[in-house]
Amino acid sequence: MSRDLALAAFAASTGAHVVSAPRGARFGVFLDSFDAGRFTADLAGRGFRFVGRSEAGFPPLLTAIHDPPPGLFLRGDGGLELLAGTGVGVAIVGARACSAYGAAVARMLGRELAAAGAVVVSGLARGIDAEAHRGALEASGPTVAVLGCGIDRDYPAAHAELARRIGEHGLVVSEYAPGVEPAPWRFPARNRIIAGLARATIVVEAREASGALITADFALEEGREVFAVPGEITSGLSAGTNALLRLGATPLTAASDVLEALDLTPPEAPALELGTDAEAVLALLRDGPASADALTRASGLEAGAVGAALVELELAGLVAEAAGVFRGVMPAG
């Protein structure tokens, strides 16, 4: 373990990406002066943990990839078993500047998969990543955020609060030691860990040649399942996902597609008692997404009553809203 830790610390001190002990005297010199005990105590003092790739607790799925990191730094109260087999990791990735549709789908998938017991893995980025994490949190499920910088860096800064909430039951992980700054080249490397931790990777929305496709490529290389959410053929945000579908990725039309492939069973849907207004609004949303105003006119209800009905449906997880447009979310199964 201490050698794994030394390797990770060496990477941080040189600012390089290191997965195995480099040749040359530099690492030897570093190793001689490296005080593993002190480094570990320092980590523990900040509430962080480290798991080396030679340790038993290291996620086996991640060991299986062709260039596993020397180890993972962990932040949060989630147990290691989230990463190590008993939890079924599902990666949800996609564009940062996503559409309202993409955001709603990512959140719905995060929630449905977490409710069925999967561990949602993503990258804490804006857009799809954040929505997937939020969806999992909504279902009170643990979720794992993989960073391309030190785990003490909340990147992006706007997601500091989200990272804190993920850490309550889940984990924020990184192969980089605390203090490592985010750099553009670290993100593709981070994506191999996202794909590596997951048994299946879902791409919700991606432009061509985007980071989400890199994650999907890693997943394909390692022989993991790749799902792509079909999008509009006229939208640039769907170009990447539609290209994946052409290449043979499984089209994802409901969370149940993933659950079946991973042998997970969706939880028994609790018998919901919806108000009559909510029932009427839900029936209208079966015809497609609509604004609150359109629903008001179509239902003949007061605007206030439609607002209350939509909140009732949202809290029941039956409706998702983005940019003022409401969509019915079909539960898994």
Partner: protein, 483 residues
């Protein structure tokens, strides 16, 4: 006429405004005028005295404006300077002048012109126990609001004749009476927009700040402009507060000396911080104070300079703006209702099914970062207005403002009588939402406030679960709260 040197000393009292605060200033005739404003005053006063066919004393005249530390700006000193000079040269009885406060600008031909802030000056004089104010005839209705006796004078000669007791000045008759203000734009002009209309009604009833988000061309600004039209008219004390501010800013129309309806201000997004919250050497009230007891509309809020937006946090919290200057501290009331509009992204494509957002993630993040959490927290009501699809544009006209206003007034009455209690079911729903949505402590308080307003509008005895549910519909969406 001949004068002894010691005779050449006389005093007139006037008031100088620091912000809205009237400060007594004494004008002693006898020193070289130093202040910029007063250099001009000297020429106007000399010319005015000559035009009134009065004698300009052939002595070296020294005019002192006391207290010296007060920064004396503006043309309101012309009349007291002229009168003190005339009193010093025994052309006007000094004892009689002492019973008056003088405030007005002189034209070169001796006419007395109205100046800004007459109401605050008259109130200061009234509070100090000075029985009468001498001011321009046009300022009479405004000055009279303070309850003081107003002596309207059109010309310096008229003021002198009055002070000598030769004749009473004619009473001022407004040429066009108290004309009603132009009606505010009507809600009946708005097609569809059921949810934003409902939010507007709640904003009016509960005095909540309202944020309308959505792609361009969805009628956000049109709606925002219609809030003042459903607000109740100002109470007597409020009307005086608003009038005082508008008077100092020189925005009072002569035919409408008292502002009776809630003001509406919509500064352009290029406005400076000083223009928004007030400032300048004076200092003068800004848009936030001009919107006191009314509505401040910030159209395209993220386009405003960030310092200007952040400066609004103080008035949104305290209902007043304090401006510190070397010459003193001015406090302007600024208790306004904030209505803001914004696009969902810089290109405006978001929320528009017919367009695609072309903003990069960084640009989107920068756009949203402009609105600090602290500022977004001030909006109790946030409504996202998506672009209606073509077939939705056939929506019918909504209710007119005249139909909405009575409901607003009734709800305001109920809210003023005291807050309603929440039922157990309402508390349970609120607790569930805090977990599920999730809501911050502040977010929870906002939802609870709005739920109270929903219940008051419905005429309910208690805040029920359905009221909390509707209030939750206007919470800050996650996409605005965190990018």
């Amino acid at each position: 006429m001949s004068h002894t040197v010691e005779a050449v000393l006389a005093q007139a009292v006037t008031y100088c405004l620091v912000g809205l605060d009237p400060r007594r200033a004494e004008v002693e005739a006898h020193l070289q005028l130093a202040n910029r404003a007063c250099q001009e005053a000297k020429e106007r006063v000399r010319s005015g005295v000559a035009s009134a066919e009065l004698e300009w004393p052939r002595f070296r005249i020294t005019v002192n404006l006391a207290p010296a530390e007060l920064r004396k700006i503006g043309s309101g000193f012309d009349l007291p300077i002229a009168l003190s000079v005339l009193a010093a040269s025994r052309q006007v009885p000094e004892e009689r002048l002492a019973e008056h406060v003088a405030f007005g600008e002189l034209a070169l031909d001796g006419r007395v012109r109205p100046v800004n802030g007459v109401l605050a000056v008259a109130e200061g004089a009234s509070a100090a126990g000075i029985p009468r104010v001498l001011c321009a005839a046009e300022s009479t209705p405004e000055a009279a609001l303070s309850g003081i006796d107003v002596v309207p004078v059109r010309h310096l000669a008229e003021a002198v004749a009055y002070l000598r007791g030769e004749r009473d000045p004619p009473t001022y008759v407004s040429s066009n009476g108290h004309r009603a203000e132009a009606p505010a734009p009507d809600l009946g002009d708005v097609l569809g927009q059921e949810r934003p209309r409902r939010a507007l009604e709640l904003a009016a009833a509960g005095g909540h700040n309202l944020l309308l988000a959505g792609p361009p061309g969805t009628g956000k600004t049109m709606l925002g402009r219609r809030l003042p039209g459903v607000l109740p008219p100002l109470a007597a004390e409020e009307a005086l507060e608003v009038t005082r501010i508008h008077s100092v800013a020189g925005m009072l129309a002569p035919e409408r000396p008292l502002v009776l309806t809630p003001p509406f201000r919509a500064p352009h997004h290029s406005a400076s911080t000083a223009a928004i919250v007030g400032g300048g050497p004076g200092p003068r009230p800004g848009e936030a104070s001009l919107a006191h007891r009314g509505v401040l509309l910030l159209d395209e809020m993220p386009e405003f300079q960030r310092p200007a937006l952040e400066a609004l946090r103080q008035p949104l919290e305290d209902g007043a703006i304090s401006i510190a200057r070397a010459g003193g501290r001015a406090l302007f009331p600024a208790r306004f209702q904030l209505v803001a509009t914004m696009n969902l992204c810089p290109c405006g494509g978001r929320g528009d099914p017919a367009a695609e957002c072309s903003c990069s993630a960084q640009r989107l993040a920068a756009f949203r970062d402009k609105l600090s959490r602290a500022l977004l927290d001030r909006f109790d009501l946030v409504v996202t207005v998506p672009r209606p699809r073509a077939h939705e544009l056939e929506a019918a006209r909504g209710e007119a403002s005249a139909a909405v206003a009575p409901r607003v007034a009734a709800a305001r009455g109920r809210l003023a009588a005291g807050g309603l209690e929440r039922t157990a079911a309402a508390d349970e729903l609120l607790a569930r939402a805090v977990e599920r949505v999730p809501l911050s402590a502040r977010g929870r308080a906002r939802v609870a406030r709005v739920a109270g307003t929903v219940a008051a509008l419905a005429g309910a005895d208690r805040v029920e679960g359905e009221h909390v549910a509707e209030a939750l519909a206007y919470r800050t969406p996650a996409e605005l709260a965190t990018a």
